[in-house]
Symmetry: C2
């Protein structure tokens, strides 16, 4: 038996359902092709009920991507806390691969959507947030073009590959292992000995 939801729980549930619905509609019709009205209709609520949670479509997109941004922030902080360039690069790579596999559908949605790129580009922290993984993977050699280029190929290649529909047939664990192996080889990081 489930106890009846408190008003606060009900609001949280509506917000969660709203975000899940928005995500489905963005994937179907693109971000630009989805209106607040369409989200309300699909949820079976009034547009006013949507407004109660989000004033604009951009705010909904912000809330949809927030969990991935939070994960990225935590991974970067965790990697920066490691001692030594190699341990930091290793932690950043592992965390980034986990993140892209966990959020592969979201990244696919974002990278194929006309209109999303511009909103992402105007996100206040995002430029900084994308720069710190590059620094970590460059292992203190960011002035060296070769270290910087390798870091960039690894990060962008992993994100694009995880999000590609060509990988839809692969389970998360296989995708994770293959991306990690490729990243390690490109960065010249040794494979960790089996525990």
């Amino acid at each position: 038996m489930t106890s009846p939801a408190t008003p606060a729980q009900a609001a949280t549930n509506t917000r969660t359902r709203l975000l899940a619905t928005a995500r489905q509609l963005f994937a179907l019709h693109s971000f630009a092709g989805t209106s607040l009205q369409m989200i309300a209709d699909r949820l079976g609520v009034t547009k006013a009920a949507v407004y109660h949670h989000f004033k604009t479509r951009d705010e909904i997109l912000g809330a949809v991507i927030e969990p991935a941004i939070e994960d990225l922030r935590a991974i970067i902080t965790g990697a920066e806390a490691q001692r030594g360039h190699t341990a930091r690069a290793e932690r950043m790579l592992t965390g980034f691969v986990d993140l892209t596999v966990r959020h592969r559908e979201l990244i696919a949605l974002l990278s194929n959507d006309p209109g999303v790129a511009q909103i992402i580009n105007t996100h206040p922290d995002l430029a900084d947030l994308m720069h710190r993984p590059l620094t970590l993977l460059s292992r203190g050699d960011e002035a060296d073009p070769s270290a910087r280029i390798t870091a960039s190929v690894v990060l962008s290649g992993i994100a694009m590959t995880a999000a590609s529909p060509l990988q839809d047939d692969l389970d998360d664990e296989t995708l994770r292992r293959c991306l990690l192996d490729t990243g390690r080889r490109a960065l010249g990081l040794r494979r960790r000995p089996a525990a």
Copy 2:
């Protein structure tokens, strides 16, 4: 002294200037934000003169990307003609790096432009054309997820990195050398001995 242009030469010149102008305007205002009228105005010709060469904006985009597509086609054919998986992968990687560096501005323009992605996705040969380099870099092991993932990370990472504004400070030769080194390392291809 220059001899006066024949009518055929004049038409070719207008077409060339038209494409160069379109490219500038796409970079400034995005593809979706550029009208045929804006192209005509910038060129100082009538819209009818533009129509004489191209019926739609999509046709102009097609003509802008055609040289890069032709280059890609030639590289793939050249690589497929090599004997042995390693020679084919080596030729494909080298050619792809050359191509992305040579067309880095165009790739930047295409990858940052909302609206372009959809048009590219509907280009008849392009899906096939993007698949063949993956096959070549997988060295006959395309069924093996690990070979396929590595090929995808290398190709998408190289294209994204060459097109990134973070690389604007690098000259073509440095960029080319660094991308090639990264690709070789990721793919496990040996560095070619100095000639």
